[in-house]
């Protein structure tokens, strides 16, 4: 059994140590926010947070997580009570098909936690590893801006 701390909760999963964290989140813990895109750390749909860092969960073996806290998009709020960043994405209607959005949100969350007032360039640079195929980039940028200190000021 492997013990993990996910969204503030201790959980134990019966998984091969080589299993990607993404599979454990989706298949064992039924946290289906993070998506499987490429499986090669190239698209960002699987992005979650490990402690303060955004990571591609498809290329992190569950055995490598150790004591570090895993945070997924489900950890930021609920449909009834979305977190500030989730609310900003809703208000900007930043999702089209939505496949990339959980990853976008988690990478943006990591950015805002270390830098609450990012410039547009900071946001663009931080989100560069995450791809969106529908083309809602401008709305995604606005949503992150809205959730930042500068956006609410």
């Amino acid at each position: 059994m492997i013990t993990l701390k996910v969204n503030g909760r201790e959980v134990s999963v019966d998984a091969d140590p080589a299993t990607p964290l993404l599979y454990v989140l989706r298949d064992h813990l039924k946290l289906n926010g993070a998506k499987f895109g490429c499986g090669l750390g190239q698209c960002g749909a699987c992005t979650v947070m490990l402690d303060s860092e955004a990571v591609f969960s498809c290329v992190v073996p569950v055995s490598a997580v150790g004591k570090r806290a895993v945070k997924t998009v489900e950890g930021l709020g609920t449909p009834e009570n979305p977190g500030p960043l989730q609310q900003a994405f809703i208000e900007e209607q930043a999702a089209q098909c939505g496949y990339c959005i959980a990853g976008m949100i988690m990478r943006a969350q990591a950015l805002l936690e270390r830098s609450p007032s990012p410039t547009e360039d900071d946001i663009r640079a931080a989100l560069a590893p995450n791809l969106c195929r529908c083309g809602t980039h401008m709305r995604i940028l606005r949503a992150v801006k809205r959730a930042s200190d500068k956006g609410s000021a």
Binding site: L40, Q42, L50, F56, V59, V60, P61, A64, P129
Partner: protein
């Protein structure tokens, strides 16, 4: 001690310095008209500027081309690339061809000021008149941009410009471009470009405490911005001998299927080299491959299975569960896409700096440029895991002697992020 010796020599050099010619009537000159230059010469200058990677230090990302301001971090402090657009006040607008040639060959500005040798005049002094004419034509036909360079931030005594005279006395003009008529025009052109305009040795050669290339050790490996710059001679770390064709492809695209993907400071060099002429790239590659002289022809097995100790066992697990999904052909349907790992040059370097940067930061093409991408693992793996992975890749995959002091090296690289 080197600083004191430098001071003494500088004093003597300073006296001699007073006799240096100063360009006359500088303030009254107007920049030459763009139409004064032959378009064919300007095009040739553009190709040469690509070989010299002028943009690397003179074009700041997201700013006007050649307007300067790129910080160059040296062991002596930070120097900023100057504005080389033909703007009269803050750029080169008032420079004549003779001024330009003197700066390139002797490291002197038209007003007699010494330029710092971070500007590679110790290499550019080898340039032919013909190539200098083309480069001048290229520079003087850029769009003029008014942009004063930021002030350099150098430690004492390096912030005293006239001391450069002493440096020049010690180091300037002590090397020659290798020539060998028997090896043909292309080889000689390659030697000229590598040791001159291309200033490959600025990163790929070891340096003295005062930042000069160590004599007799040209191209035997150096460093740039905390990356190891591999040796380009017999000491080449690549486990597979480079061919001229592979090296041309690498210089043009940044991708050598069996060796490496350009990363770190080499990325900007490659971005420029795509604008170089076919003939010059072939000459550079041909010369370097001849310098390597077949180095690296040693057999490499598949990735080994047997771990030696607990740390390398952990490293092997990390390799299998993270790296192998791209870097180990045959494991999964998509695992053959990236450079197959025992071949990666960074595993065979004499020190781990480049591999640490590659693992922590990954490889991203420069903004707006096409290219391959590898995710960075700084957030995904702990320092302990990165150290274990390095130990495994080095000793078992590369079958090379272990690197020392991996823990502080990873700590330092992580802190610099």
């Amino acid at each position: 001690m080197p600083a004191r010796a430098l001071l003494a020599i500088s004093f003597a050099a300073l006296l001699w310095n007073c006799a240096l010619p100063v360009s006359r009537n500088l303030e009254e000159r107007q920049p030459p008209a763009k139409s004064a230059f032959d378009p064919a010469l300007v095009r040739r200058g553009a190709e040469l500027a690509a070989v010299g990677d002028c943009a690397g230090c003179h074009t700041r990302q997201g700013s006007a081309p050649f307007a300067g301001g790129v910080p160059l971090r040296t062991p002596f402090g930070t120097i900023y690339g100057t504005n080389i657009t033909p703007e009269p006040e803050t750029g080169l607008g008032r420079w004549t061809q003779a001024d330009f040639d003197r700066a390139m060959r002797e490291g002197l500005a038209p007003d007699g000021r010494h330029l710092y040798p971070a500007f590679p005049y110790p290499y550019f002094r080898h340039l032919t008149d013909e190539d200098l004419r083309a480069l001048y034509a290229f520079v003087m036909t850029r769009d003029p941009v008014r942009s004063p360079p930021p002030r350099n931030d150098l430690a004492f005594p390096f912030n005293i410009r006239p001391l450069v005279a002493g440096w020049n006395q010690l180091y300037l003009g002590k090397d020659d471009v290798p020539r060998d008529a028997a090896k043909g025009t292309e080889w000689n052109r390659g030697a000229y470009l590598v040791h001159g305009l291309g200033h490959c040795g600025a990163c790929h050669s070891p340096r003295t405490a005062l930042g000069a290339e160590k004599r007799g050790e040209a191209l035997s490996g150096g460093e740039a911005e905390d990356w190891y710059a591999p040796a380009l001679n017999r000491a080449s770390p690549s486990p597979l001998a480079w061919t001229k064709e592979d090296l041309v492809t690498y210089l043009r695209t940044g991708i050598a299927e069996h060796h490496a993907i350009a990363a770190g400071p080499m990325q900007t060099v490659i971005a420029q080299l795509s604008g170089a002429s076919e003939a010059d790239l072939a000459a550079i590659a041909g010369y370097i491959v001849s310098m390597m002289d077949g180095a690296g022809a040693r057999p490499l097995g598949a990735m080994p299975e047997a771990p030696q100790d607990e740390r390398t066992a952990m490293g092997r697990r990390i390799y299998e569960e993270t790296c192998a999904s791209c870097h180990d052909s045959g494991r999964t349907l998509s695992s053959g896409g990236a450079l197959q790992l025992p071949l990666a040059v960074a595993l065979h370097d004499p020190d781990p700096r480049s591999l640490i940067h590659l693992i922590l930061e990954g490889v991203q093409p420069p903004p707006g440029e096409p290219g391959r991408s590898m995710p960075g693992y700084a957030g995904a793996l702990t320092k302990e895991q990165v150290v274990a992975l390095l130990a495994y890749l080095r000793t078992l995959a590369a079958e090379a002697p272990p690197w020392k002091d991996l823990d502080p090296a990873v700590e330092r690289a992580g802190a610099g992020r």
